[in-house]
Symmetry: none
Subunit: 213 residues, 4 copies
């Protein structure tokens, strides 16, 4: 989505723009985020932004993809050493905890995820979510398949429903654990670890194989 010019830019300039844009969209969302502010904060002429991206949406989509790549990489790294085969739900819990933690430690990723999920304009939302969700879906589906293989998830469960709910819950966890006012029940913003455990327990009850007592 960025232009060829963008690729040829000095890294410092690119970084300044990305940082400014992330901060602005994080604070205001896409529709209300201002290119004026971004250019000013980045120390760049207003017109320059349009040499790097076709338009406002182009810049935002680029940031969103950056963030989802970053998130995907972080999750992959967290996931690798986990004992998925031996303790699937334990690993899953650790994974979700890491997920929540990632967003706490990377406000830009949180903000962009929020901006994507909370965008009201339908066209914009569809355009951006499509790109972003693709990553998550692929990864989640792999995790679910794995859970079935190791016998943690029932093969006859409604795994698509599981996937859909996971996608929904993941978004919610990321946001609700780090933004006030989104979760009035579980207390995600005060004790996220416990909240994660309770959510995993629900998934285990719904889709897991019966536990041997």
């Amino acid at each position: 989505m960025p232009t060829a010019t963008w690729e040829r830019l000095p890294a410092a300039r690119r970084d300044a723009i990305v940082a400014a844009a992330e901060a602005e969209f994080a604070a205001k969302g896409f529709s209300r985020g201002s290119l004026n502010v971004i250019a000013r904060e980045a120390g760049v002429a207003k017109g320059s932004l349009f040499q790097y991206f076709d338009d406002k949406l182009g810049l935002f989509a680029y940031l969103s993809e950056l963030a989802s790549l970053r998130i995907g990489a972080a999750m992959a790294k967290h996931s690798a050493p986990l004992p998925w085969a031996d303790d699937f739900f334990g690993a899953f819990t650790a994974m979700l905890t890491a997920w929540v933690g990632h967003f706490r430690n990377h406000p830009a990723d949180l903000a962009l995820t929020a901006a994507v999920n909370l965008e009201l304009d339908p066209d914009t939302r569809v355009a951006v979510r499509e790109v972003v969700n693709r990553h998550y879906l692929r990864s989640l589906r792999r995790t679910i398949d794995h859970g079935v293989q190791v016998g943690a998830l029932r093969a006859d469960a409604d795994l698509d429903a599981c996937l859909a709910l996971l996608l929904l819950v993941l978004s919610h966890l990321a946001l609700a654990a780090n933004m006030p006012g989104l979760d009035p029940v579980l207390g995600l913003d005060t004790d996220p670890d416990q909240a994660v455990e309770r959510v995993v327990a629900v998934f285990r009850a719904a889709f897991g194989t019966p536990e041997v007592t």
Copy 2:
């Protein structure tokens, strides 16, 4: 939130304003909805709006509360004749189907719910959601309690988690079933009834009492 002046207004004038404002926010969302348009469509002077509400947000919050009252009332009516005692999950399914249908038939309610859930600006979102969620939580908690009493839900299940997930899922159902691009897996926008059944099945598996075969 409305001023004292608003209460003293002829009902016809109030209704015209509410109708115009709902239509506008439904079409454009909160941020992009225009008070100019609302005033014109309502046949009211622009300045008058500011005699009834502190500002744009005040008007919007008022509409949101109206909508949630309306939705609550509709749900209560739907709920009353359902066989909660005899077939809790059947009643629950019918309830969710009615819920989804309500938003399909009341675009204004859908739009306002969307605007509330998708608003990025933290202050706005918190202010509005707080009011709205209160209604839903009370009602949902009653439903859950009832499910326990009739033996459909396990008393030892994590009922708060159930509540939190319900709240999340309800919002999602209302929006995803009626706006494209929000649910890439379950196909809520093409076959909502089936999607509802699958979601209920998940809740039954997670929180329901074991079925006697």
Copy 3:
């Protein structure tokens, strides 16, 4: 084309805007004329212009119509006392001389006529010319009919061609007599009266009844 608000405006304010807009469009034409400049010169907020006219084109079209009404009225006044019946071509010459003189004395009318005729953007040009030409065509056709009735113009001449050429020549006379660089032959900008006489002679030769010697 102006909004209702415009009609209710104090005359002084309206006049200031009209004067500023005419001056700007006169100097720069429609496409390059700047609403910024107009608002500043008129001592009016930029946004106010959009309370009076839908957009830039709306303002321009309004000015064009004003000008063509003004021109039409002036011509009607000039025309009335002329001896059309006794000396059609003499009256016609006097008419054209008055026409040229009008634009010399009313630079705003000249400028708007120029702006209309010289606008490059096809949609704009069509939109505006349609309004303006209607006036001229009706009036010119009446004059031609009259010329036939009094026996000055041959009834079997190609009167539509006469009309088309008249329209073309009138525009040209108005502009070329008052803007340098448009007429490199007849010297319209230096001795317009003589040029007018020569043009009328051409029309007489082409469409007039043979003179009795």
Copy 4:
């Protein structure tokens, strides 16, 4: 008007620039034509254009001269075989028909002529028209002289007026026959051949020698 650098350029590079510039100005006109687009389409750096021409106007004026040379050459070729001596007005009609046809078949020439004739900015217009008109005037004057010699035009007619009107009519024919909205009477855009005939008839009546019946 081009710089010395331009003359030294490989022909291929010059041709690419000319082609791109003609296409762009043809599509957008002078004021709205974009050097960005021209440079991109020509496969040339934006900055290079400024090494070949002083500025945007310089490039445009150069193209205009090119076009008028091209048009002049085409007309000369069309003119040569025509029976000017035997049937002056027949040849003249054929000539004008060819003229109109040329612009239909060469949109770039049409567009440049339009851009020249419709440019409002006085300095620009004068600068460009001067160059262009010189060609036409010389050629038209020769045609008129010839008409007199072969006895088709009256020697005592106002031949300068004829010349001035011809110049005016030629421009009009070229544009009005190929752009909508310029000729509301003769129907030049729907049946140009017939319109041409009618115009020639007017000139014959005004300046031609009486026909022997």
